[in-house]
Symmetry: C2
Subunit: 396 residues, 2 copies
């Protein structure tokens, strides 16, 4: 029996012309980040499982694709002597970045501004439009404790979205410390508020009744008061330092002409945030295009000093769904040359080579004529070819 | 105890300025491929394990990182009811491409020319300079049975190497059918010659004595004759059709000015090749920069017609080791602005924003002054900054 041809469950293939569009969108985003001074890094897709688990990654930690041990260690594990998995695929780029910074602490410039664009994997229940492999475009500032980090990350992210032709975005802003104070005011002292954040983060998706149900252990009256506070709070209802920070970010963004609003119900699902958190909203879609926040001290988990860190991550697939492909065309002419036989084809290859040298932005694509001429012309037009010519013409 | 900060065994982090260099090298390669008409595709990193195992991938199949089942299926597997792993990380881009083509057979143009640049993973014994995650830059032609495929793949690959500033490369060429005829002539009829190819492929690394040892089951006299044939054979010692194909490739490449030589000892480790095979050699290094060949019919494994397919894959890390970083600088000025306090910093962020609009290729990187001024200047110079200025100057 044939092996099935579909990608693995929840995964997808990228078919032309989307692949080239994705390359150009990613480059335009990275070009903006480069002009702000964010330097490109890469980390491996696989991390030791201990890097990913226990990283305050919230529900994402449950969704890690774990990699089976190999060789003797696998045999021992199967015999009950040890863990079956030693590696896992990263679920975000933030936890690997903290490990990266700790690993290269002595050689990195500090403050360090980093751009990190790569796929991440989550074993989520597959659903329409959501994939188990997707790309995040992160920028992070390491070693900057002041609000300049938040301000610059928000400006650069909105500039990147403008650069790919998605204007009209706004930043939604909150602070985990404000949220934590509200949680403690309404639910009492909570050792680890992460489960509360995970529940509150689903407010948009599952509504207040179901969130209240998930939080029933904390007492119905307190939960109701907390949910009602989330709908109505204003920015000044927090510790002075927190309010000053939020005012600084809002003020700087507004004076630079970027739309920003305080949103007390903005929570984000990860446990690792320690200060301001933010998302990018777009009027045409019900989900955020980007999300991030401050996560000071994560480097300490990896034996380095507890550095200030703050990051903002664009959901690459989400922006690719919104861009106008017409803004990302090829730089030069796209010419397809159709040949009838091998002799024509070899002659055309040689002619195309010299034409490419003369006109370096142009595409000269030498192809055998397909049996179905109408389909071939349609396919080529779909791929952006405006000139489809015969070999005899090309060779003349 | 702190989690260790190093990447997982055999993996590595890419630290600036290498990350930006890699982005620019990949783009220059892809720009060349685009001008030939190769269209960018993407496939998921994870494939169903059945796609990877039994794919004639040679020793690579033993090196697959396998992903543990999840949920109820994992519990069943632990209880002995089923396989522990359902997915694996791809070990090359060729096998996933065959699945891709079969999956999208009805919507793809045919012939189909594809560029596929992505990481692959192999659980090899870690050694200096070799990593368990590395990037391959593949181009493939699907649906072209004639030598135009081989010729165009070789030309495009050598052009890509020239475009990133690696001239002086040459193509080494052989044909699996010629090799197979020699194996059968010297070792007798062999149902599956793959183990012979895997052993012969190590000739450079382990020498003829050890290869002969690995092949001892086939009879010492025959193996000796085969090894001696590999050192001396010329292109004409094969079936007519094979010789004509080799002559066609060699002739076209030479007349276009590309260096090419027939190499009877070129084997390649994968079992899936069916015709011409090739590698790119460079005078400065003892390993190949690229490798590929014809692998007709692989699509049949996935229930599609057995299409002609041929591909060439550049080892991305290998070329990044050879390029001259001076050829890949930033497009515009790189200006670092050092601030003493938050007030200066916020004012500089705002000024940098307007300067970036006026001079879109320039980088304006606003940073807090570090305690160690000499280290900070050195770090910035290492990252390509030629202008390091004080906030007061920048704001004046």
């Amino acid at each position: 029996m044939a092996q099935k041809a579909q990608p693995a469950r929840g995964m997808r293939d990228v078919v032309p012309p989307l692949g080239e569009l994705r390359r150009q969108v990613a480059n335009r985003v990275l070009d903006v980040y480069a002009r702000y001074g964010f330097e490109v890094i890469e980390t491996p897709a696989l991390e030791d499982i201990g890097v990913l688990i226990g990283s305050q990654g919230g529900d994402n930690e449950k969704l890690v694709f774990k990699v089976l041990q190999r060789g003797a260690k696998l045999e021992e594990a199967i015999a009950g002597q040890g863990e079956l998995a030693d590696l896992g695929l990263r679920f975000d780029l933030t936890v690997p970045l903290a490990r990266f910074v700790a690993n290269h602490f002595n050689e990195l410039p500090m403050p360090f501004k980093v751009a990190h664009v790569a796929p991440v994997w989550r074993a989520e229940r597959p659903q329409k439009g959501r994939y188990r492999e997707f790309v995040q475009c992160d920028i992070d500032m390491v070693g900057e404790a002041g609000p300049a980090a938040e301000i610059e990350l928000c400006c650069a992210t909105l500039d990147a979205l403008r650069a790919v032709g998605i204007p009209g975005c706004s930043v939604h802003l909150n602070d985990r410390r404000l949220l934590r104070a509200a949680v403690e005011r309404h639910l009492g002292a909570v050792a680890d508020p992460t489960p509360v954040y995970i529940a509150l983060d689903k407010l948009d998706k599952i509504g207040p009744a179901k969130v209240a149900e998930e939080l029933s252990d904390y007492g119905a009256a307190g939960v109701e008061a907390l949910l009602s506070w989330l709908q109505t709070a204003d920015m000044t209802e927090g510790p002075d330092e927190v309010v000053a920070g939020l005012e600084s970010t809002v003020g700087a963004l507004r004076s630079a002409g970027y739309p920003v609003e305080f949103d007390p119900a903005l929570v984000r699902g990860m446990g690792y945030y320690t200060g301001q958190i933010f998302e990018v909203a777009h009027p045409d879609v019900g989900y955020s295009l980007a999300g991030g926040g401050r996560y000071d001290g994560m480097t300490a988990r990896f034996g380095a000093p507890p550095l200030p860190m703050c990051g903002f991550s664009i959901g690459f697939e989400r922006i690719c769904d919104l861009v106008d492909p017409a803004l990302f065309g090829a730089a030069g002419r796209k010419v397809a040359v159709l040949c009838n036989d091998q002799a024509e084809q070899l002659a055309c290859l040689s002619r195309a080579a010299s034409l490419r040298q003369a006109e370096p932005a142009a595409t000269f694509n030498v192809l055998r004529r397909a049996r179905n001429a109408r389909k071939q012309h349609g396919d080529l037009s779909h791929l952006g070819y405006t000139e489809i010519i015969e070999a005899v013409t090309f060779l003349a």
